[in-house]
């Protein structure tokens, strides 16, 4: 069964550094998402992406964040200048179509900002 893959599984970075989290969504999916989960808290929506542009973003997704689909397969999340509070699990997700279809999640990237 096709799956969403994320790399790296764990990223450690110093405060103020830029990080890029990478995702390969399922190949015939059209809608892409980033979520995050701070330890012990709920899974929170960051941003959705469709047709090469952001569809919706949460208040968490400020100017320090950006997303890109640089080619036909990758979907990246960039954090320009990381803060300690950016430490979390970041999950990429995709789904095939609009409307009521489930999201399929990757296994996440654990980002640790020191």
């Amino acid at each position: 069964e096709p799956e969403v893959t994320q790399t790296p599984s764990h990223q450690v970075t110093q405060m103020g550094q830029e990080v890029i989290l990478r995702c390969v969504p399922i190949s015939n999916h059209l809608y892409f998402y980033w979520y995050r989960q701070i330890l012990g808290q709920k899974v929170e929506f960051l941003v959705s992406f469709y047709n090469n542009e952001i569809s919706e973003k949460s208040e968490i997704f400020d100017d320090q964040f950006s997303v890109e689909r640089p080619d036909g397969s990758n979907f990246t999340l960039k954090i320009r200048s990381t803060k300690l509070e950016d430490s979390a699990m970041y999950f990429c997700a995709s789904r095939r179509r609009d409307g009521n279809s489930p999201l399929h999640f990757g296994n996440g990237t654990r980002l640790t900002v020191t």
């Binding site: 899974v43 959705s48 919706e56 949460s58 409307g99 999640f105 296994n107």
Partner: protein
Amino acid sequence: DQQVKQNSPSLSVQEGRISILNCDYTNSMFDYFLWYKKYPAEGPTFLISISSIKDKNEDGRFTVFLNKSAKHLSLHIVPSQPGDSAVYFCAAKNSGNTPLVFGKGTRLSVIA
């Protein structure tokens, strides 16, 4: 602003018995509800969903019930198995390409 609430952080059930996980929501515009299961070091895995036009959806050992008037849904697992031990997230969304809103999760432990 918790639009999706899972008030039980944990639940412990004996193998073979029924597990009932509960979820409440506040947004009356939600029309699609899902349950996800999450193991440590993995992403959430889709389990079962229900549209607001239904009140029950069944898939094998898993059944989701929706009570729109009470803004409540529940997931029943019967019989429970040790492999069901995981964190279960309730999620909901409005129609269209809108994001899922998750609850905080309930950790289910099925004891052999």
